[in-house]
């Protein structure tokens, strides 16, 4: 160390700084912070430095790692990545075969084997909200799921959307994802064609397209929808149809319904758009993966979310209970195939866990046997 023991040399430019300085006065780079004396004792074979020298916590971490590395030098290091990958490849191919054959059999047999799920209490609330819609009531239908999740989300949302249309309400589609406009079109046209609902002419719904900017875009839209989204997804002016002229803010919609698989998207709608709703209902159609992290908002009873339907089971239950009958399912997910898939998936996860235990025991035995040899 330098002889003036109350100086700290800057690593970047070699300038001598007073001990307390956190940044080098010459080039402004970070200075190493104070040495922790007892930490030094960890590094075997190091006589302690002057106790006033400084070491940053990151160097503290490195010293500890160095200490660990020195300590384990003697033992055979178990590599982080186990060399034999073959076991996992066979597991992967085996799982693929089992799942494909089971689903193929179930889809070809096409016999309703599993009983249909029943409506949860929050799905009942959601159904009441849709029943309360008067003809011509504007409904903001937010299609905010990634196209990858369209299988689950179509099965979940088709019953709700058909119910909204059966109430003669006026859905206005919007998305905060760039893929939203096409997703909404696919969703509506599939529903219109397959279910024979005749009143799905273009003037029965509006596709506003993509709202950019995530939370800040959503905040400005909820305050001034007409200025922020003047045009529809395909570029012609949006707001002259009768039910929409009066909409000046989000609270002018009779119901705001958010369809998403990402809890952050749902949370962003709750955080940014919720306060602007002034009591108007906010309903969530959630993928099964988002339900657990959104439940605290439902249970909080602070009225942030009024109704929630989640997962394929929620969609099937909603569709069974609604007053209208959908001639055929448009999403291609029959309940029995899906349920069989879940059961087989659960069994495969259990077997995979057991396989992991078996592999662990075998690796530890090899470890021991390798250790015994001179």
């Amino acid at each position: 160390m330098s002889d003036e023991d109350d100086q700290v040399t800057c690593a970047e430019c070699g300038f001598e700084n007073p001990l307390e300085a956190e940044r080098c006065q010459n080039c402004g780079a970070d200075l190493p912070a104070a040495f922790a004396e007892n930490l030094l004792a960890q590094v075997p074979g190091q006589e302690p430095f002057i106790n006033k020298a400084r070491i940053t916590p990151a160097q503290q971490v490195h010293l500890r790692l160095l200490g660990e590395m020195l300590a384990v030098e003697g033992q055979a290091l178990l590599l982080g990545i186990s060399p034999r990958r073959a076991g996992y490849t066979t597991l992967r191919i085996g799982t693929s075969l089992v799942l494909f054959l089971v689903l193929l059999f179930s889809l070809l047999a096409n016999k309703p084997v599993f009983t249909h799920p029943s409506l949860t209490s929050e799905a009942l609330e959601a159904r009441q909200l849709v029943y309360a819609l008067t003809p011509g009531a504007p409904v903001l239908f937010v299609v905010d799921y990634q196209p990858g999740f369209s299988g689950e989300m179509t099965r979940l949302g088709q019953g709700v959307l058909a119910h909204i249309l059966a109430q003669r309400a006026y859905p206005v589609f919007l998305s905060t994802h760039p893929t939203g406009p096409a997703q909404a079109e696919v969703f509506i046209t599939d529903l219109g064609i397959n279910t024979g609902i005749a009143y799905l002419t273009p003037d029965q719904y509006l596709n506003l397209g993509y709202l950019p900017g995530g939370p800040s875009g959503l905040l400005s839209f909820s305050q001034a929808p007409q200025q922020v989204m003047p045009l529809t997804a395909d570029g012609n002016s949006a707001w002259q149809d009768p039910p929409l002229q009066t909409i000046q803010s989000l609270s002018d919609f009779s119901l705001v319904l958010v369809m998403t698989e990402d809890p952050d998207t749902a949370r962003t709608w709750i955080e940014q758009a919720g306060p602007q709703l002034q009591g108007k209902p906010l309903m969530l159609l959630l993928s099964a993966q988002a339900e657990p992290s959104l439940r605290p908002y439902l249970e909080s009873g602070s009225g942030q979310v009024q109704g929630m339907v989640s997962g394929v089971s929620g969609g099937v239950a909603y569709q069974d209970s609604a007053v209208f009958t959908l001639q055929s399912d448009t999403s291609g997910i029959t309940w029995s195939a899906y349920s069989l898939g879940l059961w087989v998936g659960a069994i495969l996860l259990l077997l995979a866990g057991l396989y992991g235990v078996f592999r662990l025991v075998r690796e530890q035995e090899n470890e021991l046997s390798r250790g015994d040899k001179p």
Partner: protein
């Protein structure tokens, strides 16, 4: 020695813009709310334009792969051809036109749904690797809860075990609410910490 340039202008732009938007959550002055709405609208528009910047970068990366004789250039050529064809069709036919929806329905949807579908297999292998990597009570509880939730979603007639389903309902209404609430509060704290470091000028990622 490079005197670290400290562009005060960028810092003021970030802190002032952010400060006005943040104050708007609590202060209700009409002037502040008006300025805030303008700033939010600009931020939303700029975020949309930034997507174009990202697309330009993506195209340049693939273009460089084509002109440099590195292998993998063919894939980049295929990507650029697919880009040009789709861009022309969707631009002419509008994003919700029949051709555009055709491309979306028969090219983008099958690939994305299949990418998610193969996760149903990959996650099974991942669970096996998890057990080897971390054989402790946390993993046991994690896999056990997952299996219980998958099984409790549906039942074969005659095989219904009511206790499984009411156990699932209790778990999803009590421990999961508690765990999720704790996690969300924690993540909220982390987000506030990260955001404040930027608004107080301690972190300046925009500096060159």
């Amino acid at each position: 020695m490079t005197q670290r340039r400290f562009p005060i202008f960028l810092l003021i732009l970030a802190v002032a813009g952010g400060g006005i938007v943040l104050m708007g959550y609590w202060v209700d002055l009409p002037a502040l709310v008006a300025v805030r709405n303008v700033l939010l609208r600009w931020a939303a528009t700029l975020t949309g334009v930034a997507v174009l910047l990202g697309i330009l970068n993506l195209l340049t990366v693939h273009w460089l792969k084509i002109i440099q004789p590195r292998e993998g250039g063919v894939y980049s050529l295929v990507m650029l051809i697919a880009f040009v064809i789709t861009f022309l069709v969707v631009a002419v036919d509008t994003p919700t036109g029949s051709w555009s929806v055709w491309i979306f329905r028969y090219i983008q949807l099958p690939v994305e749904t299949s990418l998610l579908a193969i996760l149903a297999v990959l996650l099974v292998v991942a669970v096996a690797r998890l057990v080897v990597r971390r054989p402790d009570s946390f993993t046991l509880l994690f896999i056990g809860t997952a299996i219980l939730f998958l099984v409790a979603a549906t039942y074969l007639p005659g095989f219904d075990i009511p206790v499984v389903r009411s156990l699932r309902d209790w778990i999803v209404q009590v421990p999961v609410v508690a765990g999720a609430r704790g996690l969300l509060l924690g993540i909220g704290l982390g987000v506030v910490a990260t955001g404040l470091r930027i608004l107080l000028g301690a972190d300046r990622p925009y500096e060159r």
